[in-house]
Symmetry: C2
Subunit: 200 residues, 2 copies
DNA sequence: TCGACCTCTGGATCGTTGATCCAGTCTCTG
DNA sequence: CAGAGACTGGATCAACGATCCAGAGGTCGA
């Protein structure tokens, strides 16, 4: 993970990783069977940095928001995860967080199909958001956004709204994410029929 | 794209692509400067399959839902896009759809910061959802889900809620996506102050 | 004490890949 | 018809993921 944090996923090779660990590259293949295994392990390792709120810790909405915000923070702390998110996440750390999310929603009184749909929406929202933002954070974020902004302004005839508002002109990622999460939680909360709130 | 649809992104090499086109691999480098350019072009090419609703076509909510559903359908029609989504999307086809999304929300009466946040949330939700689902669709979906489901049931002591409900046990992706989109649109609609609806 | 056995290591090597060099071909224009 | 620019591709390079295979280190029972 130190190697990934420093140089990104593109520059991670089995040889360089072995050199970093002070061994030969062949040795790594005794512990993992393929390079994808290394990437899967690294991706799951990110999630130990996602704090899991204590059970029965107040309102379900706060607990879910805490989990999702931590989820996003961990992914953004390691931007190389953006490229890796398009692979099955079945590691124990991911599953633990996902289990907590489902359990919290279940205890809050959500029933199918809303239970699965709510967890589905929250997970995919945070994954998509972190990936989008991490994409623009690789390398020099300021330079990338400036180039993209100039490109949009140069073609402002084709993309007028995008050049005026738009995610690349003075967008505060944190504010947008928080608002988007509120939209989603509002909608989820509204899907629960009255009288279904065990501990609202 | 035919090569990608048939064999996936892992088996796309410049040599095989050149052979498919009936030329040498060197020739490709006259038209593109790197392999990443090919992938960027292929990813943007997907979006021509996303129908853009006509302007002034009824309620903004229906227009947005149509765009987002088409967006998801195009990504799912080419599951190899899941691995590629973690890269900057600045192609003309993507920008056209993004421009339409922002313009529609602007015309519907949304103002900052809700305008940017709504577009941000919708884009990231559909990207995350399509990526998650495409991840499980590569190869034999039935087999992958069965293996994952058995794994969860085997560790049902650690993941009880996930083994009972959970995205891998009888989850209808289409239903969950539609419900999640409704949650998001409900929340977005609620963020607009009364009296701001030019054409509600 | 010894030797069989399992865990673990790594130099050498294979096939493949992305990318480049450079000589050559094609086509269009004046 | 000559020259310039657009385009092609065989040969080649460094780097990569992965494997082969010989061997080191430790453990345990006879």
């Amino acid at each position: 993970m130190a190697l990934l944090d420093e140089e990104g996923v593109g520059r991670l090779t089995m040889r360089r990783l072995a050199e970093r660990l002070g061994t030969g590259s062949t040795t790594l293949y005794w512990h993992v069977s393929t390079k994808d295994d290394v990437l899967d392990l690294a991706l799951d390792r990110i999630f130990v940095e996602v704090p899991v709120p204590e059970a029965d810790a107040g309102h379900w909405r706060e607990a879910v928001a805490t989990l999702i915000n931590g989820w996003r923070g961990a992914l953004l702390a390691h931007p190389w995860s953006a490229t890796l998110l398009g692979r099955p996440m079945l590691g124990p750390n991911v599953l633990t967080r996902s289990e907590y999310l489902h359990a919290t929603l279940l205890a809050a009184g959500f029933a199918e199909p809303h239970l699965t749909a709510a967890a589905y929406a929250l997970s995919n929202y945070v994954i998509g958001s972190a990936m989008m933002q991490a994409t623009w954070r690789t390398g020099d974020e300021q330079a990338a956004r400036r180039v993209a902004g100039e490109y949009l302004r140069a073609h402002s005839d084709r993309y007028p709204t995008l050049a005026a508002h738009g995610p690349l002109v003075g967008n505060d990622w944190d504010v947008s994410f928080r608002l988007g999460l509120d939209y989603l939680l509002d909608g989820i909360q509204g899907s629960r029929a009255p009288g279904q709130q065990p501990r609202s």
